[in-house]
Amino acid sequence: MKKEGGIPASGWLDVHTLKTLSRHTSGALGALIASWLIGHGVQYFVDGDTLVGTIVSWTERIVFVGVFLQLSYSVLRTFYFRHKDTNVPLVVVALSL
């Protein structure tokens, strides 16, 4: 098995891919934490049953879903470009996630 940077690189998850994934995961996690803090900070001052409270609540949920969508897209894109020249199908990569 080929070694890269002291860490054994398997067939579908090498060190470079791991670094990219950790970068995206930490970035998304930071954005989620920031969104959660802002959303809950606003909701602290707003009654949840009012119009503004409903809007803030749904905005926070949709922002969460959006960040997760972007993270999923980035992860799949990373694996696609990692394996586009190999014979590993993208479906197998996606399922192995």
Partner: protein
């Protein structure tokens, strides 16, 4: 302290974090629109999916724009490529005129930065490539 801030400034983690914050902000109008819809007409899954699609397209646009903007923060040539960024110009016509010197410096800087990012020398994020490019102009006189 300044080295720490420069390191943070160059961090790919920070740039990715800012890109995800941009994505989160891109979904805020979608969330406001759907929140208004829920408050007035109730929850609708089909509308939610459409709005999520619109938000995702917007987020992709924001992601790319932020990628370009963050890349324009600057590319600093690493120490290894600084050594190769010494140019000796023996043409008197180029070296004699100040405008030609500036033009040559600009071209050399741009070409050096491009070669650094494509070649074996890894380009680093920083403030200025001009400050790290040395131009030696010999007039031959």
């Amino acid at each position: 302290m300044s080295r720490l801030s420069l390191s943070l400034y160059r961090s790919e983690f920070l740039k990715t974090f800012l890109q995800y914050v941009g994505v989160a902000l891109a979904f805020v109008p979608v969330g406001i629109a759907y929140g208004l819809m829920v408050a007035t007409r109730g929850e609708r899954l089909d509308l939610l999916l459409v709005l999520l699609g619109i938000g995702f397209v917007t987020a992709r646009f924001v992601w790319r724009r932020l990628e370009v903007i963050l890349a324009r923060w600057g590319v600093r040539v690493s120490e290894q490529s600084i050594a190769t960024s010494v140019y000796i110009v023996t043409d008197v016509r180029v070296a004699a005129v100040a405008r030609f010197q500036y033009a040559f410096l600009t071209v050399a800087t741009v070409l050096t930065a491009a070669a650094g990012s494509k070649g074996s020398v890894r380009a680093e994020q920083g403030w200025s490539t001009v400050a790290h490019t040395r131009l030696l102009m010999l007039t031959g006189a």
